[in-house]
Symmetry: C2
């Protein structure tokens, strides 16, 4: 009739998320003084090529105010440019500049390495099971990436 915190799924996920975040944050923070929203916008734009703030928000799971502020910060660094969207004058097309793309490239390697170094502490079976389990949970929570339409 009690609730053991260390067995409670929301608590466990939050602890894991924060622990991993702490291992990863130094990379983008110490290299370039980025914060997480900015790092995510950088990745989203590298993924998407050119996109609106809304697209970036959907792709990086971030609130529109975060996007707005992160975009401003990256713009001040001249890591991205805004161009008017011919189809919708409310939004602007965001694109990484060469400098922005270079920063992205500088970060991706170390980020992947750090992730790999964490996953290396798991056995191959555990690693695969983890990926599958997270996928199942994502599906259960409706987080799965909106799959390309069937057909």
């Amino acid at each position: 009739m009690g609730l053991t915190l260390s067995e409670f799924l929301p608590y466990r996920l939050n602890c894991l998320s924060e622990a991993i975040s702490q291992e990863i944050r130094p990379i983008y923070r110490d290299h370039f003084g980025l914060n997480r929203p900015e790092w995510r916008v950088l990745v989203a734009l590298a993924d998407l090529g050119t996109a609106t703030a809304k697209d970036v928000g959907a792709h990086s799971a971030q609130h529109k105010t975060r996007i707005s502020r992160a975009v401003h910060a990256l713009e001040k660094r001249r890591w991205l440019t805004r161009e008017p969207d011919p189809n919708d004058r409310r939004s602007e097309m965001l694109t990484l500049t060469a400098a922005g793309h270079r920063a992205y490239c500088d970060l991706v390697g170390p980020m992947r390495d750090r992730e790999a170094r964490i996953l290396d502490r798991l056995s191959p079976e555990d690693r695969e099971a983890l990926g599958d389990a997270l996928g199942a949970l994502e599906a259960a929570l409706g987080l799965s990436s909106p799959k390309p339409p069937v057909r």
Copy 2:
């Protein structure tokens, strides 16, 4: 040579953590106007019986300033009492009052139900695999509960 956000472990864990948190928060927020640190202190004290702020922090994985503020808030509600620690005058022994314990009991049921409702969306195999995978990752990150000393 890219980094797909939706396959990046830190990102996935953070999204899952936030999604579950959003499903769970309304329970302690709407019932009693608690925030997460307060809810966690409540659980920690129910788990531990009587403990110092430091103990609560270790048991609920929270920064000492969070603990300090959450304890003050719960104290104002008269959900916990502070008594001088005879062994160390820097700290105080914190204990839930009857009202605090009642609130805890009111919350535990709905919280567990909500957790169960989420896990029910998974197959039994996925459920078990998830628990195991999270355990493995916790171990890899050094988060496993400090096991009682061997011998």
